[in-house]
């Protein structure tokens, strides 16, 4: 069995009296693509927020490559190698497309104030590398985000391209684990099929391990090695897509219980 890259142990979080997550146990192996599904309010995004350090769990532990992430600031989590996208696309809308991807390499570069002011050789080299990496990452999505687009503000992009740019921005942080929050939400079937394909490539070509929250079951089926279903902050089922999707409890969570016949 391959190495566990992410190991979540007895994770709980409560907001006031609400148990957003209850005793969650979950792990991701190196090189896996895991789909997280569940009805609205199941705690999926809270789960992501917790891994990326934006919410502190009430109890339990998150181990990334064997080290705990508890208490780390989001930027430190990203530096460790976990990058994420947001469900409601949150780009830096007034920065150009190139800048959006360049700025997320912040934690992988180190030019300080002095090398910037004196425009040292090291500074120029690093800027060049940042730029090249940005273009390489954007090139992953075909010609949509490169060329004349590079210097346009992110706000001119179409919805689907904004989603792609979000993924590119996360990729540019050079992560080992990529958390995608509903990557195909709002895309048409053609676009989502294409993105499904690209998510596969993110693993095979870029070597990312991926955890993906997704409502589109076609995408989940096509790309996930394993599926976890959450409901009310608890793991309802885990396993292959077929196992989970045929699990009666999962069906119940999504569709509700059939009405009992009146006696």
């Amino acid at each position: 069995m391959s190495e566990r890259i992410l190991d979540i142990q007895n994770l709980s979080v409560t907001f006031g009296g609400l148990h957003a997550l209850k005793d969650l146990n979950f792990h991701v192996d190196e090189g896996e693509i895991v789909g997280v599904i569940g009805p609205n309010g199941a705690g999926k995004t809270t789960f992501f927020n917790m891994i990326s350090g934006m919410v502190t769990p009430t109890s339990g532990d998150i181990l990334f490559e064997g080290q705990s992430l508890i208490g780390l600031d989001p930027n430190e989590v990203t530096r460790r190698g976990i990058a994420r996208t947001f469900q409601n696309v949150r780009l830096f809308a007034n920065m150009t497309i190139a800048e959006n991807v360049m700025v997320s390499q912040h934690c992988r570069s180190k030019a300080g104030i002095w090398s910037t002011l004196f425009n040292t050789a090291a500074f120029r080299k690093e800027e060049r590398e940042i730029r090249e990496h940005a273009e390489k990452v954007l090139g992953f999505f075909g010609t949509r985000l490169i060329g004349y687009r590079l210097e346009q503000p992110a706000s001119v992009l179409s919805y689907a391209n904004r989603r792609r740019l979000e993924i590119a921005r996360a990729m540019a942080t050079k992560p080992r684990l990529l958390l995608l929050d509903e990557p195909v939400a709002g895309m048409n079937p053609m676009e989502s099929a294409e993105l499904t394909d690209l998510i596969g490539k993110l693993r095979s070509e870029w070597g990312f391990t991926i955890v993906m929250i997704e409502h589109d079951m076609n995408v989940v089926r096509d790309v996930s090695d394993r599926v976890v279903c959450l409901d009310h902050g608890e793991t309802l089922a885990q396993g292959s897509f077929e196992e989970v999707s045929s699990n009666p409890e999962v069906i119940e969570a999504y569709l509700g219980r059939p009405l009992e016949k009146k006696a």
């Binding site: 104030i113 075909g142 010609t143 004349y148």
Partner: protein
């Protein structure tokens, strides 16, 4: 015979065409703008501005600055009432007599308010609450004639001016630009009289007596005897004896400006477009040439100007330094710092303490006495370090807050520093309210000393620091740190999630801002030779912020423009500007300008591209869509129109 008849018929047709529907106005709009004009006129009249500024002539014997302050408004509102938004693809309404009539009505309605004011001032005495309710105001409002004359002319004159403003709509854009150029040239040449007189006179004198230039590096304490400038004739022609333009001069200027505007039609715009279209090395080369030319111009400028202009430019430069620093904090990193004056105070006081020869009275025994044994440069270095450390200390608690809370807390810190300087606890170290005096100038050893008595040296001192600050701002903006600042400004939580240590990055903005402010402090200490706690009122913070906002947040050129327009023309909190007459109404004008800017041009005089995008997002998107730069859906992978891929 029949020819003439047809011609007459044609003429009648044309007149009918023009006047058709002339009174078919949007009366609501006319009433709204007319009353607005009336309110504005009455307010300005009662603010005392017209009476106070009546001394200053704009065109000798024709109009004074006081009347100008009132009479600018009817044409502007007359123009505005006819303004409409023309949507892409919609045909605009045809301009005609209707616009002029509307303008005339707006002007006359506004003027009616003034007529009523004339009657009221004539018959009642409300001087108690309204201090400017004076006979002088009545004299001004009746044009030094009878009340009846005032009543009538206040309806006719604004009406005519309103119609004149509105009739600009009838002109072609080219002619309109020419008319605007004429009016603005006359007004600004008159307003900037002292500057132009000084500059033209200086150049003229230098041409007449080139020997003056050789003593350039002298102390300037013994001015050379005045020689006749070669331009004296020109100056005498344009400017009247008691200030203001002569009538002939005004007409000549207007003609020249109009002719230049017509001849230079679109050239500037074309040059700008061609510069913007260039990329890569060629653009860099052009930029370098422009920077080199302006540097040379600035370096030789003091050869030709008098002390007053040099002093004025030094003041502009000092506020430029402060504004550049605040621009990094507010414009780039998006931290609304309302207590920026704190760092200015720290810089001023540090360098003062470090260089002054007689220490403050109650300098504590346990501290070494600083008998000014530091050189100025070493003192500056220590000052910069102190400012940076204070930036860290103030920044650390403040930075964890966001938005409004942060603004309030910085406001507090700005005041705390000043109050500490006055307090029993620390006041003794800093001479409390007496301040520190006899601060020596900036000593550069063999290069000479920059001190207040020699404004030229201060000008160069400011120039050097401004160059450093502009360079620092420019380098940082286009760097890893600058990008991180922008990301924090755009969305702090996402920036954090993308691996940016927002606390560090924001602290860095605070520290860089503090260091740039300390430069300004050092220059001011050398220039004025004394520092007092009262020089660091909250007003200074606000004015620096206004400079940044009016100029254009996040843009170095904008900050430059803002400093020149606000500090140079209107003046700083204590520093006189070119319009010394306005100093009493400075804050009123600042406020009005700020409100107007927020309504009409929130991105500032010279906007940052990004910021204007943000504020005009919808329009921008619409434009981009029309140009085919937005993909309506993803089936189209490229732009609809030809846009050359870079």
């Amino acid at each position: 015979m029949s020819d003439i008849t047809t011609q007459v018929d044609d003429t009648i047709d044309t007149i009918e065409e023009l006047t058709r529907g002339a009174f078919d106005l949007n009366w609501n709009r006319v009433l709204r703008f007319g009353n607005l004009l009336g309110l504005a006129l009455v307010f300005i009249a009662l603010s005392g501005m017209p009476v106070g500024l009546d001394e200053r002539e704009i065109v000798d014997g024709v109009i004074s600055l006081g009347y100008l302050a009132l009479l600018t408004f009817p044409p502007i509102l007359g123009w505005t009432v006819g303004k409409e938004i023309v949507l892409e693809g919609m045909s605009a309404t045809k301009r005609g007599a209707r616009d002029v009539v509307a303008g005339a009505f707006v002007g006359a309605l506004g003027g009616l308010w003034m007529s009523i004011l004339v009657l009221l001032v004539d018959n009642f005495n409300l001087r108690d609450p309204l201090v400017n309710w004076s006979p002088a105001l009545l004299t001004l409002m009746t044009f030094s004639r009878s009340t009846g004359f005032g009543l009538v002319s206040w309806i006719i004159l604004p009406g005519v001016l309103g119609a004149a403003g509105a009739s600009l709509h009838l002109l072609t854009p080219r002619l309109r630009r020419a008319v605007m150029a004429m009016v603005l040239t006359v007004i600004s040449v008159s307003i900037f009289q002292s500057l132009i007189d000084d500059l033209v006179g200086g150049i003229g004198e230098s041409i007449a007596d080139p020997g003056r230039l050789s003593e350039f590096f002298g102390e300037g304490d013994t001015p050379r005897p005045r020689v006749d400038s070669v331009f004296d004739g020109l100056i005498d022609f344009i400017y009247a004896q008691r200030g203001g333009l002569t009538v002939a001069g005004a007409i000549a200027l207007a003609l020249v400006a109009g002719a230049l505007s017509l001849a230079g039609r679109g050239r500037i715009a074309k040059a700008k477009a061609s510069y913007n279209a260039k990329t890569g090395p060629e653009r860099t080369r052009q930029t370098a040439i422009m920077i080199a030319v302006s540097t040379v111009l600035l370096i030789v400028l003091p050869f030709f100007t008098g002390r007053i202009t040099q002093d004025l430019l030094a003041n502009v430069g000092i506020f430029l330094l402060l504004a550049l620093g605040l621009n990094i904090v507010v414009g780039l990193a998006g931290i609304l710092d309302l207590g920026y004056v704190a760092f200015f105070a720290v810089g001023s006081y540090s360098i003062a303490i470090l260089t002054v020869t007689d220490p403050p009275k109650s300098w504590p025994d346990w501290l070494p006495t600083l008998d000014g044994q530091f050189g100025w440069l070493l003192a500056l270095l220590i000052t910069v370090v102190i400012a940076g450390v204070v930036g860290l200390f103030i920044g650390a608690p403040v930075i964890r807050m966001r938005g409004d809370y942060l603004a309030i807390v910085t406001l507090g810190f700005g005041e705390i520093i000043r109050i500490l300087l006055l307090s029993d606890w620390l006041g003794g170290y800093f001479n409390a309210a007496q301040g520190i005096t006899n601060i020596p100038g900036a000593d550069f050893g063999p290069l000479g000393e920059a001190k207040g008595i020699n404004p030229r040296s201060i000008f160069y001192l400011v120039l050097v620091f401004a160059a450093i600050s502009i360079y620092v701002s420019w380098r940082l903006e286009h760097s890893r740190l600058g990008r991180a600042w922008m990301a924090v400004r755009e969305d702090e939580s996402v920036a954090e999630a993308m691996g940016i240590n927002t606390v560090n990055v924001k602290l860095m903005a605070f520290v860089v801002g503090a260091v740039l402010a300390s430069f300004a402090g050092a220059v001011v200490s050398a220039k004025v030779g004394s520092v007092f706690p009262t020089s660091f009122l909250i007003l200074v913070s606000i004015i620096i912020l206004v400079v940044v906002i009016v100029g254009g947040m996040g843009n170095i050129l904008g900050v430059l423009a803002g400093s020149f327009v606000l500090i140079g023309v209107l003046g700083g909190p204590r520093q006189p500007g070119l319009l010394a007459e306005f100093s009493e109404y400075k804050l009123l004008i600042y406020g009005a300008l700020l409100v107007w800017m927020m309504l009409q041009r929130p991105e500032g005089l010279i906007p940052n591209v990004r910021r204007s995008r943000e504020l005009h997002q919808d329009e921008f998107l619409q434009d981009a869509w029309l140009k085919g730069e937005v993909d309506p859906d993803d089936d189209h992978e490229g732009p609809a129109t030809e846009v050359a891929p870079a």
